[in-house]
Amino acid sequence: MKPDFLNDIRFTDLTWAGAGPFGTKVFSDFGAEIIKVESTVRLDSVRTGGPFKDRRYGVNRSGYFASRNTGKKSFTADLKTKAGRALVHGLIEKSDVVSNNFGPGAMERLGLSYDEVREIKPDIVYLSMPMYGENGPLAELLGVGMTISAVTGLMWATAYEAGDPVGPGTHYPDHAANPYHAAFAVLAALRYRQLTGKGMKIDLSQVESTLNFIGTAVTDWAITGREPPITGNADAHAAPHNVYRTRGEDDWLAVAVIEDRHWTALCDVMGRGDLAADPALSTADGRIAARDRLDVAVADWAAGREADPAAAELIAAGVPAAKVASARHLIESDPQLAHRGYFQRVAHPELGDSLYAALPFTIDGERIELDRPPLLGEHTREILRDILELPEAEIDRLDAEGALK
């Protein structure tokens, strides 16, 4: 399906890199018109970051960019020029939402502070998502997604053992907490505008947003006065609960015995009647006390097996288990994702039929079909003509004077 749920909504979208565009992408996927304002003078950093089609660099060849910008329109303007800024003002006047993820002060330098934008469009929904919030002593701190993991405690807690932090292997806050908190806030602000006629400014500090993703642990710590234990792949309340090596070069099996019935089923599958019969192991507390010994037992069993059939055997017996899937495995070998049509191929002039993850839900039993991401500046002229209603001669003049770079 191609939903038209938002066909009355237009964004002037100044977000770039990862977290911002991922949050506005869901709006274009749902039928909103997202005008992505970019520039050939200062390229979006994910256009220049890979992976690239055939490993060959090109501003329209980045898969990272593609995955964050499906269904958007690309409008290029040099915001360093007065004429370029005036065009953006014109777009804002005809937009419902203005979005950016620049550092503090950048929108002000472009003459696009909330107050200035409100003068252009009084009921605008204005989304900013600077890393640490727009004001305060560390507002100017430079960072990437992993910086957010570092200052929130997420990096500290992603560890095999206490005191030796490893951290998430990705810029995790950029790909989950921050884009989707932002999207949810914009949808809420649009309903508020519907009710009251008023717009609002959303100052999404990516640190504060991410702290909510570990809010359960923060609240546990506040209530008990103790930091939650660092357990790696184990669980403070369950055992055995770990990731075990299987046959294969780098293949692993996750097994989680949460309930007593999982334990008896696991023993059954492993053929370990002796463990099942041990009354000391019949409760979670008993199994936790024997955690190391039970890890050895499961590891021995897993070591001789392939991960996928081992997981299947455990699942059939009712034990939570899964092969530790790589992206390649998800794409090529996951029957569930294949059944649900999770991955989509979308045609693109430079990327060919390249692969995208669908939005992770269906609506009324159907997948949302993605539209391809835009080429750099692909829609500039169309937008000038159809939205700003400029005559061709004026567009040519703007182009000649360098405002559309």
Partner: protein, 365 residues
């Protein structure tokens, strides 16, 4: 007036969908946990903090759910609601279609480990196994050890946030056009949607992104020990100010690591992503940081535009000057409580303690 004033959501979630209702409740929706007389399973399973966080601002009623009469009682309640959140292994999970048929204007959001369809629809799952089957577990950890999961129940956070966004989209359509929807959210898919660019790295370059970042992440982008803890650094070639600031600082202090990092091999972007480069950089950088505290390092980094930050533990958070300045933490039920994920210019975000079982029966009835 709040953004979701006038919206009532019946919330039967108990794990993966719990955060969904919380997001709506803070912004004015009346979110009511519909619980069997003994409570939904999270009242027993979740830790105190998890329950308090995921269920703040909601209310609760109990309902005799048994048999056809129980479903009819629930259906009658749904008649007064705009949305319902169902979760697998919870009440009325298999009645989503019946709800849609009876109430065509209702948004029914179904949250589950693998979605409502497919060979895994009924498969058992936990946070650990979902992180495995969604692909995020594969991405973290050290290459010489097992893949490492993300802490603190991230499967539920990711699934719950996506479910909230999808529900909000569908509510908007239901209000505009009078047509309800059935949303089927898969936690596995939600996690698989959060793998950075790993899907494209495989599709376009036939490389597998793997824990440790071999081949994908610069040697400088990592956690490093210092005198009193750890710092995170990022000084890849893509951030030249950060790299030049760092090497310049070392040279300024006459530290030998400075000249070592001027070696031309550090201009080779691809080599810098190898394990050899990672090992070499760690040695040189940790020689430099061994005598410096987190505060000294981060102060020096800030003035030199180096991307560096302290690796904080939860106990450090109340002292974070930025969070203090912004008044991030709130008090709820006599405890410190996280503030909102977004600061809104209109005073529309409010939080209230999670409900006791059946805390709002009087008002709802």
């Amino acid at each position: 007036m709040q953004p979701y004033s006038g919206i009532r959501i019946l919330d039967l979630a108990h794990w993966l969908g719990s955060y969904t209702g919380r997001l709506f409740a803070d912004l004015g929706a009346e979110v009511i946990r519909i619980e069997p007389p003994g409570g939904l399973p999270d009242r027993e399973r979740a830790t105190a903090g998890t329950f308090a966080f995921l269920n703040a601002s909601k209310s609760s009623i109990t309902l005799d759910m048994d048999g056809a009469a129980g479903f009819n009682r629930f259906l009658a309640l749904c008649g007064s609601a705009q949305a319902v959140i169902l979760e697998r292994d919870g009440p009325f999970w298999d009645r989503a279609e019946a709800l849609r048929t009876a109430l065509p204007g209702l948004v029914v959001t179904c949250v589950s480990p693998f979605g409502r369809t497919g060979p895994m629809a009924e498969a058992p799952a936990s946070d650990l196994t979902l992180q495995a089957s969604g692909g995020i577990l594969w991405m973290s950890g050290r290459i010489e050890a097992a893949p490492l999961r993300l802490p603190f129940g991230q499967a539920a956070m990711v699934a719950g946030t996506y479910a909230a966004t999808a529900t909000a989209m569908c509510l908007r359509d239901a209000e505009r056009r009078g047509r309800g929807h059935l949303v089927d959210v898969s936690a596995q898919e939600a996690i698989a949607h959060s793998l950075q660019n790993a899907v494209q790295v495989w599709d376009l370059e036939q490389r597998v992104s793997v824990r440790g970042g071999e081949g994908t992440r610069d040697a400088t982008e990592d956690v490093f020990a210092c005198k009193d803890g750890h710092v995170f650094l990022a000084a890849p070639p893509a951030l030249p100010n950060s790299w030049n600031g760092l090497v310049g600082w070392m040279e300024e202090l006459g530290h030998p690591s400075g000249s070592a990092l001027r070696d031309t091999r550090w201009t080779d972007r691809e080599w810098r992503k190898t394990q050899a480069a990672k090992d070499a950089f760690r040695k040189l950088f940790c020689d430099f940081t061994a005598g410096l505290t987190r505060e000294e390092l981060c102060e020096g980094a800030k003035s030199r535009k180096i991307v560096m930050a302290p690796v904080a533990r939860l106990a450090d958070l109340p002292d974070d000057p930025q969070l203090r300045h912004r008044g991030f933490f709130r008090q709820l039920d006599g405890h410190r409580f996280p503030g909102p994920p977004y600061a809104l210019s209109e005073p529309v975000w409010r939080v209230a303690p999670a409900p006791e079982l059946s805390q709002a029966t009087a008002e709802v009835a």
